[in-house]
Amino acid sequence: MNVIWQGLVEAVKLIIRLDPEVLTVLFLTLRVTGTATLIALVLGLPIGTYLALNEFPGRQPIIALINTGMGLPPVVVGLFVFLFLARSGPFGSFEVLYTPTAMIIAEIIIATPMVMGVTVAAIQALDPRLQLQIMSLGANRWQFFWTLVKEARLSLLAAVAAGFGAIISEVGAVMMVGGNIKGETRVLTTAIVLATRQGQVSLAIALSIILLGLTFFVNIFITKAQQGKR
């Protein structure tokens, strides 16, 4: 118990002191997961909506593939992103391995199927007659899409929360493709792993509390957007 108590005290100190090292880790975490979540949304919402509304051959296998993607083991994603970005790999010449870009790519691959899969289900759960109603009130294509997304926002924001939660707590993939380099690719999760290994338990606990607090804080916003205008 003593160790945990010390950790809590240390955490409060670190947070009050605005430790520059911790801040760097915190901002990088936000930048990487924020960017990845945003890109996952930009990809997942329109494609998911398209899949939900249109019938075409091959649609079902694609949806099955997306649903499989929702359960992709992050370590496997990390491995393949590593292999593709490694110097000898097909995209080696871009030299993005062990940079935040590589981490963002891995996290996009983890989060996009989640957003897409939930979007398909959420849009399909809407009353199909709503589509005709929206069009008949004079919506253009873009307004039509946006209205449907807004109507499905309860489920879609749950998807955002799940996607964001999955990637902010992700360790394996970001470790493999980011390398946990201090000041460059070290995020909260990888920093916690390192601190624990080095016996800096109180630092690890402090970082964990910051991670939990951050996730909670982001979810407050998501929940507000979700429940605010019911």
Partner: protein, 382 residues
């Protein structure tokens, strides 16, 4: 030409290889309420999607104010002059105000205009007090008022309605029908109103189009279609319960005598002796009297037709009773429940059914070419 808003010509449309719509010609005139009356699955909803320019028919021409429609991508401007509401309100997850403001926001209207117009239309539909409520805090009738306000707030030239009152209770239905017509008149909006209910058609229509299997069987003023149906099937659909086959035997200055099984009927018609016809009588035009041989011996009345018959069935529908009478041919009369009680009519009683010659509508039976193999069904023989 100027008073025709939207016009379909030779429009044909199919779904999955099955032809669902074949409209030779349909005009929606400026400021009119055109009711499209037909049973479920006769192509009414498809017609609305075509009129809403959301479905491109396979063949045919659509004209908006006399102009042929531009290519698909340029249609939004015209599409935005049209709005549609359905049987279910299909409201968005937003306040009543935001629901009604939707169409104006799609059109990027300024905020002050939105507030003014939404306030005005909510007032016209008598739901101003609901503005801040959510749809799940409104009753069925209120929600439908919101849906109609949402469609009309953009002040469209044409409003399309798909069974807008079908889910409502009779009293609420009548109130809303009245308010809707007032709003349409005050905004000078043309309206195509699709329904399967002839009561609703009666409540709202200026003109009526009867649609049967994707085709317009008859179109005209409400009285024309209801009292002078062009075919037996239209007659059945507009509530003519009595349709009897007969043949004209005499003709004198427009008053004809028509022979039916076990009797004859006098009617106002120009058809000539020898013409095979159908005699149509609306149930509310038939007067039922209990039969008393002494009284009827010297009985005189202005109604030209008195048929003696036997009551075969009585069905009460609220304050109204439908009486089936067998006069050789089957007749259906509606009388009030009170008359039924006063007359004391029961099943198997003998009664006199009377109706004026002017209440009889005569349809000439079409000559149906005999099919190659099977013989004609007895009822349709010309």
């Amino acid at each position: 030409m100027t008073d025709t808003l939207l016009e379909l010509e030779k429009v044909v449309h199919s779904y999955a290889g099955r032809q669902v719509l074949e409209v030779e010609r349909l005009e929606v005139k400026e400021g009119e309420m055109l009711v499209v009356l037909g049973q479920t699955g006769t192509g009414k909803s498809t017609l609305l999607r075509v009129l809403n320019l959301l479905e491109q028919p396979e063949q045919g021409v659509i004209r908006w104010r006399g102009q042929e429609l531009p290519a698909n991508h340029a249609r939004l401007e015209i599409r935005r002059r049209i709005a549609m509401a359905f049987q279910d309100p299909l409201l968005f997850r937003a306040s009543v105000f935001d629901n009604v403001a939707y169409g104006l926001r799609l059109r990027h209207r300024p905020k002050t205009e939105i507030e003014e117009k939404v306030g005005k239309i909510l007032g016209l539909f008598k739901i101003g007090h609901l503005a801040t409520r959510n749809p799940n805090q409104t009753s069925g009738g209120e929600a439908q008022r919101v849906a109609l306000a949402r469609a009309l707030v953009i002040e469209p030239d044409l409003l399309l309605l798909d069974e807008p009152l079908a889910s409502l209770d009779p009293v609420i239905k009548e109130e809303l029908a009245k308010d809707l017509i007032e709003v349409l008149h005050s905004l000078n909006v043309s309206c195509v109103y699709v329904t399967h209910s002839r009561e609703e058609a009666f409540m709202v229509a200026d003109r009526v189009a009867i649609i049967e299997q994707g085709k317009i069987a008859q179109i005209g003023d409400l009285e024309d279609v209801f009292y002078r149906p062009a075919s037996v099937s239209v007659a059945g659909f507009v509530g003519v319960d009595t349709i009897i086959k007969g043949e004209v035997t005499e003709q004198e200055k427009g008053l004809a005598v028509i022979r039916i099984d076990h009797g004859q009927i006098e009617a106002i018609t120009e058809y000539r002796p020898g013409d095979k016809v159908f005699v149509c009588i609306r149930p509310e035009d038939i007067v039922v009297e209990s039969f008393d041989s002494e009284v009827h011996a010297g009985h005189k009345a202005s109604a030209r037709n008195h048929l003696k018959g036997k009551v075969t069935g009585i069905r009460t529908l609220g304050a109204i009773a439908k009486v089936n009478i067998d006069c050789g041919a089957p007749l259906v009369a509606t009388i009030t429940k009170r008359s039924l009680d006063d007359l004391g009519i029961k099943k198997d009683d003998e009664v006199i059914a009377s109706f004026k010659a002017t209440s009889v509508h005569v349809i000439k039976s079409e000559v149906i070419p005999p099919p190659k193999s099977s013989p004609l069904p007895a009822g349709r023989q010309a």
